[in-house]
Subunit: 284 residues, 2 copies
């Protein structure tokens, strides 16, 4: 059994699986790439996790996530930088060249979005050379504007590229995630820009479904269940020169309540139909 | 008792009030402008509502709302156009020159955002001349991108202006609502553009607070409780030449559970402090 070559399973899609279950489940399904998260990796031990996935024939497409770089106070800022250096080292240990960064939200009581965005740039200036020295690229992920206050002050692909382009392309890239960007009618042009500059460091997929749940964190849709033209993103990123992993990352309790192997099989089927555009097998 | 001259109370902020209570409550507080909604106006009768507010010394800053113009089927489209003509007539009856339009979301099963946006433009071409003939301007309201799939395919001020500028300025304008636009770092330039073209048809205020509630409709914040720099919007709109009403429109069950007059007094206090920048009275 073999999954499409560029397909990657982000472990949050099957949060019910431990790391060993993830490695075994992916191997059984012919999946060759996984996106990992720092929490479970640190719990298991980064070295041990690296061995585990390597022994299962897997490569790590990205590590999620560093970032949260908007603190205005010196202590908070120093702690964030130290934590991000540790994240860079964990990424290097796992053998992935991509560390996903979520910028962080506004500090409590602040209304200064431009100031917060500038502090992110300052942090990238400190972290970029260190990351590149470890063979890791920082990948800024623009998050949907509904997270702008409490999670990520970088809301569009243009903003992410404006930030990234202040630094060498081997230090800072961007994440293209369909869930966050689908609504934006400027995204086609920004994908071209990102491709031309060699800035697409990661590509993630989830669908948009409503109603959104309280807190709006865990409402992502299975591929094909929502209104995002996933194939359009796949084709536009490809036309812009992106040939890297396509990671499916769906935060959804409905998927976590099911058997992990069944979820992975469904994700693979949906990926082929809605992302690659391969018709469903008749009678399936 | 007199409220600031440009202040307007959108009736959704005090949904607990009937129309007569709204008229009396505003008169008692020295408020001279109200924003009305079609549902309560139709229930009361548009003619009677017009008399009621006029007799209380109030003018109507805007009527919310028409729109929902994205239906792809001929019957749905015809029904939407008829409903919007009725809304135009209700606005004219109320003596307001501004009918707020919410574009509408994607039809069920559709992934075609550009197509839906184009159908909105087609509808404006039909409705604009009729509205202008009634002395009413259609005011396109860009809604936060979190509503792009199910409520409004127009998500940014730039998109709203791109649409409006296809038509004469007396037919189609835009709504500037801080709740929907605060996160967008291109909004300063778009406010200048909107002002230069004479396109700012309405200005609405609410604050952004988290966590968002399920469905994300009723989570707006009282002025000053969130992270929006309301005064910045007030000043930028003013610098762009806007001198019209500033309508406070907060959908929040917490406000509806309280005494309407107390809510209005709080809104007025917050408006003075956080929008106009008048310091709070000492000891208050």
């Amino acid at each position: 059994m073999t999954a499409p070559a560029r397909f990657s399973l982000n472990q949050q899609t099957v949060r019910q699986w431990s790391l060993p279950e993830l490695a075994a489940g992916c191997a059984a399904a012919g999946v060759r790439r996984v996106g990992l998260w720092r929490g479970p990796v640190r719990e298991y031990g980064a070295e041990a996790a690296a061995r585990l996935v390597r022994d299962a024939g897997l490569t790590v497409s990205s590590l999620c996530r560093g970032g949260f770089l908007t603190a205005a106070d010196p202590a908070g800022r120093a702690a964030a930088l130290a934590d991000n250096r540790a994240a860079v080292e964990e990424a290097a240990t796992l053998g992935t060249g991509t560390l996903v960064l979520v910028a962080g939200g506004l500090p409590p009581g602040s209304r200064d979005l431009p100031g917060a965005r500038e502090r992110v740039a300052d942090a990238l200036a400190e972290l970029g050379p260190y990351a590149a020295g470890c063979g890791v690229r920082l990948a800024i992920e623009p998050l949907h504007p509904m997270y702008a206050s409490d999670r990520c002050v970088v809301s569009t692909l243009r903003q992410a590229l404006d930030l990234a382009e202040r630094f060498p392309a081997d230090q800072v890239g961007v994440v293209v995630d369909t869930y966050h960007l689908w609504w934006d009618d400027t995204v086609a042009g920004q994908l071209v820009r990102a491709g031309e500059g060699g800035r697409i460091a990661a590509f993630q997929l989830a669908d948009w479904v409503t109603p959104l749940p309280e807190g709006v964190l865990l409402g992502r849709g299975q591929l094909g269940d929502g209104c995002v033209d996933l194939r359009w993103f796949h084709e536009r990123a490809g036309a812009a020169g992106y040939r890297g992993p396509e990671e499916v990352e769906i935060f959804q309790p409905g998927l976590w309540a099911r058997d992990g192997a069944a979820v992975l099989a469904e994700v693979l089927d949906r990926y082929e139909r809605y992302v690659l555009g391969i018709p469903a097998v008749t009678g399936k």
